[in-house]
């Protein structure tokens, strides 16, 4: 009887472990997902599931297609991750089971995605065919197809974000337009198309209050800003001519705005083709300063408390991170994590930052107060790092 009971207990344990793929022997089988995240392994069509408390990877999920420039959003319950691949793949991953539960290839060539504020819709931004496709987050069945037609054909779309009220906002690279797709009244979106946004918008961001959508321009110096609280919504050009007529440097990697930084009362933005970051007053939207940095910035990300901004750089300066104090706008620390630092992700309270170092095949974890390295986690050509806590943030 005793043996039978022990056998039964071990069978139960086995059942629980196998049901929770990320659990290991000796670990509580029941767990939350709030401290989990994904690391994109861009060369091997795989992602790592990471546990930020253990500072370790707990599972690898494979078979996800071309993951160069892949990004991730999370379901509102933080159990599922939606991975947007370069090849149009959209994969839904169960963080607890450590496996793909659904996968579709929704387009030929894609760049990022978003999830609606109510968690029901997942949108993908596509280069080929140009436009946005929207899917039911449960089933990944297509809800709406929004081709980015303009006067000269179909445009590539970029800068796709979610906005409050079951809306998505995105911009048209070729057309210089910004569109708002409003799904508040059902599966058929009401489209608002705004022209004259500027030449070659390359990325967009939305502030975490959902009020301002900002579009970076590649074809000219400057940005366009939309106040989504106003009606009608119209673009306002800011930072016009920030290059002051000087020839810009060749741009080997487009800056990203997704990791935008609102540091106190100023936005921090990476300049295009210049080794500078730009400071913009939150109220007036005027430039109030700039800081010279080590190379052309790719991400300028504020620590969640806004006190520091961490900046990484384009090739050939991509072995370095600089940390800028937002009170003085001065560089206060420099790190050399290794070759090809691609991404930085803060834990939600800001105590740690996770850094991907592609050519060292490592994810490194740093204490953000004293800059000591806390851990190194092996990963195959890691790029984006995405924590499940993003589920609670507009625009991420």
């Amino acid at each position: 009887m005793m043996r039978c009971g022990a056998l039964f207990a071990s069978m139960i344990c086995l059942f629980l472990w196998s049901g929770l793929g990320v659990a290991h022997p000796g670990q509580e089988p029941l767990r939350g997902t709030g401290n989990l995240g994904l690391v994109i392994e861009r060369s091997t069509a795989s992602v790592l599931i990471i546990d930020t408390t253990k500072r370790a990877s707990v599972a690898r999920v494979e078979g996800l297609g071309d993951l160069s420039h892949a990004s991730v959003v999370f379901s509102s319950d933080q159990r599922f991750a939606f991975v947007f691949g370069r090849d149009g793949g959209l994969s839904k991953i169960d963080l607890l089971l450590g496996k793909v539960t659904k996968r579709i290839v929704q387009a030929g060539n894609s760049i990022g995605g978003a999830i609606s504020d109510d968690g029901t819709l997942v949108a993908c931004s596509n280069y080929e065919p140009g436009g946005v496709r929207v899917f039911d987050s449960k089933t990944l069945k297509m809800v709406a197809d929004i081709p980015a037609k303009w006067t000269n054909g179909v445009s590539k779309t970029i800068g796709l974000v979610d906005a409050p009220g079951r809306r998505f906002v995105f911009s048209l690279w070729d057309a210089g337009e910004t569109w708002i797709a409003d799904f508040s009244s059902g599966a058929t979106p009401v489209l608002t198309k705004i022209k004259g946004v500027g030449k070659q918008p390359y990325d967009g961001l939305i502030t975490s209050d959902g009020r301002y959508y900002m579009v970076g321009l590649f074809g000219e110096d400057g940005m366009s800003v939309f106040d989504l609280w106003q009606k009608p919504i119209s673009p306002r050009r800011i930072l016009s001519g920030y290059g002051r007529g000087e020839t810009r440097l060749p741009v080997y990697k487009m800056p990203h705005l997704e990791g935008w930084a609102l540091a106190g009362d100023r936005f921090v933005l990476p300049a295009v083709g210049r080794s500078e970051i730009l400071w913009v007053d939150k109220r007036s939207l005027e430039e109030v300063g700039r800081t010279k940095v080590h190379g052309q910035p790719v991400f300028a990300v504020a620590r969640p408390d806004g006190r520091h901004v961490w900046v990484n750089f384009a090739h050939p300066n991509n072995d370095t991170i600089q940390v800028i104090d937002t009170l003085t706008a001065a560089v206060v620390h420099q790190l050399k994590p290794g070759p090809a630092v691609l991404h930085m992700e803060f834990l939600p309270r800001g105590n740690e930052v996770w850094v991907s170092v592609r050519d060292s095949n490592l994810v490194q974890v740093y204490n953000t107060r004293d800059f000591t390295k806390l851990a190194e986690i092996p990963a195959k050509t890691p790029s984006g790092i995405f924590l499940a806590s993003r589920a609670n943030r507009t625009g991420l």
């Binding site: 071309d66 370069r86 080997y252």
Partner: protein
């Protein structure tokens, strides 16, 4: 020197220069260049080079392009587009190596 001889000499010299540009990248640098193509070119052209913000640059798509002309595009970029000039980072010989690499589908 006769005009014809001069032309022949110039032709021989430029052929020699082209041969020189095509070869002699040491294996270590070749690996770095390959990584540059897949990851850095790949950030716009896709890691499989089938295109993204930039166009498809797989070997079948590029078939018929002269390696010299591709190398020039790599070095000088394409004004009005997002294609930067790589001249600050690459020598002519390295650009030519990349052009040959892109045109040779078997090496990818």
């Amino acid at each position: 020197m006769a005009r014809r001889e001069l032309l022949a000499l110039l032709a021989a010299m430029s052929a020699g220069a082209a041969d020189c540009l095509g070869g002699t990248i040491n294996p270590e640098r070749a690996r770095e260049l390959e990584r540059l193509v897949l990851h850095d070119c790949g950030s716009c052209h896709g890691m499989t080079l089938k295109g993204g913000l930039g166009p498809d640059i797989r070997a079948p798509t590029l078939a018929g392009r002269l390696p010299q002309s591709l190398a020039k595009t790599i070095l000088d970029g394409v004004p009005g587009t997002a294609m930067p000039a790589w001249r600050p980072l690459l020598t002519e010989r390295e650009a030519r190596w990349i052009a040959d690499y892109l045109l040779d589908g078997d090496r990818q």
